[in-house]
Amino acid sequence: MTALHELTIKEAGDRLRAGEVSSVDLLEATLRRIEETEPVLHAYAHLLAEPAHRAAEQADREMAQGRIRSPLHGIPLGIKDIIYVKGAPNESGSRALAGFVPDFDATVVERIRSAGGVIVGKTATHEFAYGVNKLPAVNPWKLGYMPGGSSIGSGVAVSARSAFGALGTDTGGSIRFPSAMNGLVGLKPTYGRVGRHGVVSLAWSLDHVGPMTRTVEDCAIMLQAIAGHDPRDPGSVDHPVPDYRAGLESGVEGLVIGVERDYCFYDGVSTDVREAVDAAIGELERLGARIVEVRFPQFKYMTAVGMTIMLSEGSAYHRGLVRQRGADFDRYTRLQVELGELIPSTHYVMAQRARRVLRDAMAGLFREHRLDAMLWPSTPLPSVPYPSVNDPRPDYPSETPSQSYDHNSFDVNVTGQPAMSLPCGFSRDGLPIGFQLVGRPFEEAALLRIARAYEREHDWFTRQPPVPVSA
């Protein structure tokens, strides 16, 4: 029989509603799992066992009275440590914020609570979500290997079964990258779909909050809980929220999926990744999708545009803190903040102008080919040993793994399109590989539908990492 901590959100919710388990049972199973794995993995920055117990007991009381808030009711979840949880530390992976405790919940945390979710802890993040300082958590699939970033603790916790699901943030790939590295489903919603009030910003015009889960349906359940207009977030868009689970089983018959080869499948894509993603494309075609080869030479501008915006906005956000507490920043994070201050304002505005051109070009591509989605590798290569991330790749010496990991990720932060990473196999070394589905604005449901059709055919989603467990 499946251990409680191994259940998906959907399965755990079904058992809760059937009265077979309680929310307190799920929480205690999760806390036991945390106790086993945390000495090795360090997925959590701060555990919130006591408040989680109170929330689980409340969920059980409500359940006993027949009140079920949502499919997330009573489910233990992790929250990235740049998302405010009232009364809990929010250090954002930085000594510069040591001891900071916000006195309000982020909008997404309010919504998770309203949906009945139980917040078990704050998950570890790269410092301020820049993704450049030393790893705060450990890869459960292979010790010493890169587990992705910056939503690293969310990825590790969900993969190691020490959370049923988690929230991450994505400014240049930080949900999709750790999802791919950890064999998970991760969704960066459309810009403006999910509110960001109460989230430490990396770059206001590129930041997104989204779910990281083990299955597509779990992802839909979490997105349902957090999507919707946030009047306290100036970037939020008031757009109707559909039922994300309604069309999940509709299949891909007749849907059109674009594949761009020149940039997204460039020579830096490793053999293992190329084979796995090509197999996924073939699988979707076999299931009834129409695969269309497309060209989009504008991809080559995306990273420069995204980086210029991210560095400029990030440095504006941290301008005061880096002057007051610069010595407490990790050196590599501080370099990013310093660099952003030295970028001329004309470059920033130029990047924002280019961004509109790129968005319009992407819209034109989708219209011309009547695309429902595009598909490309989440990362050009699987995880590598952490010490080598900044060394030239043996198989592609013109890039370091760090540079390769950025190659396919910034595009959708620049255009604001929804994108999700989902697992599609393993490398010869047993490391997860992911592919990315990219959709039309506010059409996350189409991505979930395609992802679910693929998921039904494979068991990648149920495989667990060989997590070392402390005695």
Partner: protein, 76 residues
């Protein structure tokens, strides 16, 4: 002192970066200076590549809402 502008192709040097940082009141620890200079060179190279893109009269992708929060638009 010269009134000749810097050649746009000139790469920043640690000295120019330090001077720029001083002008904007940014304290840059000495150990950051060489890496920061390299990073800034890379940034300038990436921006030069963007110049190929025809921006025409496109305005930047900013959005600003001038409405006042909590005030009914129809109120007089």
């Amino acid at each position: 002192m010269t009134d000749t502008p810097l050649d746009p192709e000139d790469d920043p040097t640690p000295e120019t970066v330090q001077a720029l940082a001083r002008v904007i009141g940014l304290p840059v620890p000495p150990e950051d200076l060489d890496d920061l200079t390299d990073d800034l060179r890379e940034h300038f190279a990436s921006i030069r590549a963007l110049e190929d893109l025809d921006l025409g009269d496109v305005s930047p992708g900013f959005r600003f809402d001038p409405r006042w929060e909590g005030i009914d638009d129809g109120a007089t």
